[in-house]
């Protein structure tokens, strides 16, 4: 089973009542206040991380409406358990793990075994790119920004889950490779492999729109 799995956030973390020293985390002050029940501090944390959490949820669920509902569940769970958060990771990493669990529960509920398998299986065989046509230098000569966004979103949604999540966090959300690894509980080398395969697959999926023979 991959590390992008279904474990509920570390149970000891949820139950613990004593926090240790915060790790270096830009959210630290707000987390400490939220742990004392300060709703405004928690609201700031929600604002800071809503885009990240939304993209993680869309990447797993492939459904914007369901991602919005799961986002609400994620933040409600986070508030419920925040007093037990013990700084073993950055707050955002902890939040992403709650979001992943919320999404996986929904996949199970809808009996989406294909997506569940894709999330939980290990690496598969070698993937080699298939398209070798040159691409246009400026796609905006051929498509509007809205069209490009639509084409890219459709392409990303066609990737299998383990590639989709990594491409979403690295290339769309623009986290660093090590940060993606931390957020997903993967090794940096596993992220590198998934990222390269995901990028090559996405390139093949986008080629019909952006290669020179296409327009």
């Amino acid at each position: 089973m991959s590390n992008l799995d279904t474990r509920v956030v570390d149970a000891t973390e949820c139950r613990a009542t004593h926090s240790s020293q915060p790790v270096e985390d830009p959210d630290a002050d707000f987390v400490v206040s939220a742990q004392d029940g300060d709703c405004e501090a928690f609201e700031e944390l929600v604002r800071r991380h809503s885009q990240l959490i939304y993209r993680v949820l869309v990447a797993i669920l492939r459904d914007r409406d369901e991602a919005e509902d799961a986002m609400q569940d994620t933040f409600l769970s986070a508030f419920k358990y925040i007093r037990g958060f013990q700084w073993r990771s950055k707050f955002s990493t902890w939040l992403v793990s709650i979001a992943r669990n919320a999404a996986l529960q929904r996949l199970r509920h809808r009996k989406d075994t294909e997506s569940l398998d894709a999330v939980e299986l290990g690496e598969d065989g070698y993937f080699g790119p298939r398209q070798v046509r040159t691409w246009h230098d400026d796609p905006e000569q051929y498509y509007s920004k809205v069209e490009i966004q639509h084409i890219v979103e459709q392409g990303i949604l066609q990737l299998s889950t383990k590639y989709r999540v990594v491409v979403m966090l690295r290339d769309v959300q623009q986290l660093s490779g090590p940060e993606v690894a931390r957020q997903l509980g993967l090794t940096v080398s596993a992220v590198k492999i998934r990222l390269l395969r995901g990028r090559l697959m996405l390139r093949d999926l986008l080629a019909p729109c952006f290669s020179k023979n296409a327009t």
Binding site: M71, P129, W135, I156, L196, L206
Partner: protein
Amino acid sequence: MMTCEEFFAEFGDYLENRVSPELRMELEQHRRHCRECDVLFDSTSKAIKIVSESNSFDLPQNVSAQIIERVMAKLKSGPK
């Protein structure tokens, strides 16, 4: 000169700009002599740029505000 297989082994790091200057020179030399690898690098770089600049799956401000409002309303009304 490096083979296509050797080029592909370094491809991920090359895309991420994480190769030494010496290795970069070798990779670029290979690209000058191999059209397929040159197109592969150029098109994959362009795909990454398109994806990065696409604002894909942007959470609209109004949707974000509604979700935050719902979450905070539940937190303030529900049991702690």
